[in-house]
């Protein structure tokens, strides 16, 4: 884990992103922003019949962390199943970035993760599957 946020790994992804662009016919698309700073990320997934991510693309604008982390995430999730993404934790996402983020910057680093999670829940709901309960005793 690097202490330097702006090491080559992050900056490479920021300047030469993986799969920045759009799909012809995404299975699902979603976007969100971090209003505090204006970071915005739009994700598109192509999911095959085995619930596996065939392709993942992103678009957006904002700070290097928010955009590089989207790029890194796209690269990481291709080939994974929805089941695997359901188990995917914020901590793992932060590990993927290979840098230590302060609390303030974690919002940037986790923006694409949040969008991804929302999509997974939405797909679950579409299929009428149980969505994992969130906290509380409801």
């Amino acid at each position: 884990m690097s202490d330097d946020l702006y090491d080559d790994y992050i900056l490479d992804h920021y300047e030469s992103p993986y799969h920045r662009g759009h799909l012809e016919q995404p299975t699902i698309a979603h976007e969100d922003d971090n209003p505090l700073c204006g970071d915005r990320v739009h994700l598109e997934l192509l999911v095959d019949e085995h619930d596996r991510i065939k392709e993942a693309w992103f678009d957006g604008h904002g700070c290097a962390i928010s955009q590089a982390s989207a790029s890194i995430l796209m690269k990481d999730i291709e080939g994974k199943t929805l089941d695997e993404l359901r188990d995917f934790q914020a901590k793992q996402m932060l590990d993927l970035l290979k840098v230590r983020l302060t609390a303030a910057r974690q919002k940037c680093g986790l923006l694409s993760f949040k969008v991804l999670k929302t999509m997974v829940y939405t797909l679950d709901e579409r299929k009428g599957a149980m969505s994992p309960t969130q906290g509380g005793r409801g």
């Binding site: 209003p35 302060t102 609390a103 303030a104 910057r105 906290g135 509380g136 005793r137 409801g138």
Partner: protein, 417 residues
């Protein structure tokens, strides 16, 4: 005679060393016998030092700055929030809102919940022992919304009369607001039974825990309640900070109360969307250093242990209860020891409470006199004012004796002829 600390789970003499003010003589040179703990308690060195640490090492605004100080202070603040969560046994840290005090916490609920969910004909269930902070906000919002106030009657000795609860708790009751511990009578109320019966009727339960938290009556899930309010300054923390616990689903359904920075998600010229919990209810710059100081206060009391604190305070209360009753003309208000926390309020024939407090002060004994922000209760008691002695973890048996001697002195002043 003094047996300070002899039979306590902690060494009271040593604990007193943690409180700088207890060591300092009053302006007149007399030692301070501080028995006005129900109003506010003294602060241990660790809390004062935490404030200094904060201002001298990581003073910055929270949640905003992308810089080292901002990161440190945010981490400290959120650690304090987690300490409060753990203290209250709340499920989630987002259910812990920092406010400026109990009064603000209750006003927040009365306004943000009441303005949205109260309808004409709805009822709020209160009682006459409530502090004005847990009465006047409900009067105002009930008036505005056309809702009605109902009151759980009191027993002759100053407890809630739960045998009459079903007369006043109806299907129209939307919320029961009740103090966990009376700041005058010392009565400890059976929150568990009240909450269970209120919930069975579909009513929410708000607990005014300003007096109970310092003594360890502090859990929001055992018994389960919906709102829970307390003040930092009464639990060995700084002034200017309070807590409102609210159950997530209810907080989410409510609209915000105060508006400004931090509580928004997106602001347009004409309208705005609101942020997630807890920010939604924390507009503007919150009392940052004070919240962090409250965290240190929680560490302090948990270091001693609530059980030990409560045991010690119970001994003090028992001693006071016993000795005060031997003073001619002295009348204690409220229930017996079994139902009472560490507060003893009383009247003394021929000596008005104000004169009493003033004369006790002359002996270095600080108590409070007046209606203690409970005018309806004093009306119910049939007196305009009482004198209140209230005990904290650092008080000693010798101080109880000093109180009783000072009361005798006051009686003599008024019987000089």
């Amino acid at each position: 005679m003094s047996n300070a600390g002899l039979d306590s789970a902690y060494d009271v003499a040593a604990v007193r060393q943690d409180f700088p003010i207890l060591d300092k003589p009053l302006p007149g040179g007399m030692p301070l016998v501080y028995l006005d703990n129900g109003a506010t308690v003294q602060k241990p060195r660790s809390v004062i030092e935490k404030l200094v640490e904060c201002y001298e090492n990581y003073n910055a605004n929270v949640h905003r700055g992308i810089h080292s100080l901002g990161d440190q202070v945010t981490t400290e603040l959120e650690a304090a929030r987690e300490k409060v969560r753990a203290l209250l046994g709340a499920d989630e840290v987002e259910e812990i809102l920092f406010t400026s005090g109990t009064t603000m916490s209750i006003n927040l609920v009365a306004n943000a919940w009441g303005r949205k969910f109260l309808r004409a004909g709805d009822e709020l269930l209160l009682n006459e022992m409530e502090h004005h902070a847990n009465l006047v906000p409900w009067q105002q919002i009930a008036h505005e919304r056309g809702a009605k106030l109902r009151f759980i009657p009191l027993t002759a000795d100053g407890r809630l009369d739960l045998t009459a609860l079903d007369d006043v708790l109806t299907d129209r009751t939307k919320l029961v607001a009740v103090t966990a511990m009376s700041n005058v009578l010392g009565t400890i109320n059976p929150i568990g039974e009240i909450a269970a019966r209120a919930h069975a009727r579909g009513a929410l339960v708000l607990v005014d825990a300003a007096q109970s938290v310092p003594h360890g009556l502090v859990n929001v899930n055992d018994p389960r309640v919906d709102f829970f309010a307390f003040s930092g300054h009464k639990v060995y923390g700084p002034t200017g900070i309070g807590v409102l616990y609210g159950r997530r689903k209810i907080l989410e359904a409510m609209d915000p109360f105060l508006c400004g920075g931090n509580m928004i998600r997106r602001v347009r010229k004409e309208s705005s969307d609101f942020a997630e919990l807890p920010s939604k209810f924390e507009a503007g710059t919150i009392p940052i250093a004070q919240a962090i100081g409250l965290g240190a206060a929680i560490d302090y009391v948990q270091g001693l242990g609530f059980e030990a604190i409560a045991a010690h305070e119970h001994q003090l209360t028992a001693r006071a209860f016993d000795q005060l009753q031997q003073i001619p003309g002295l009348q204690i208000v409220g229930p017996g020891l079994a139902h009472r926390g560490s507060i003893v309020s009383f009247t003394v024939e021929g000596v008005h409470p104000h004169d009493m407090a003033e004369l006790l002060d002359r002996k270095g004994v600080a108590v409070r006199a007046g209606h203690h922000c409970t005018m309806p209760l004093h009306e119910w008691l049939g007196v305009t004012a009482t004198t209140r002695a209230s005990f904290a973890l650092y008080n000693t048996h010798a101080e109880i004796d000093a109180l009783c001697e000072a009361i005798q002195y006051a009686r003599q002043v008024f019987r000089r002829k």
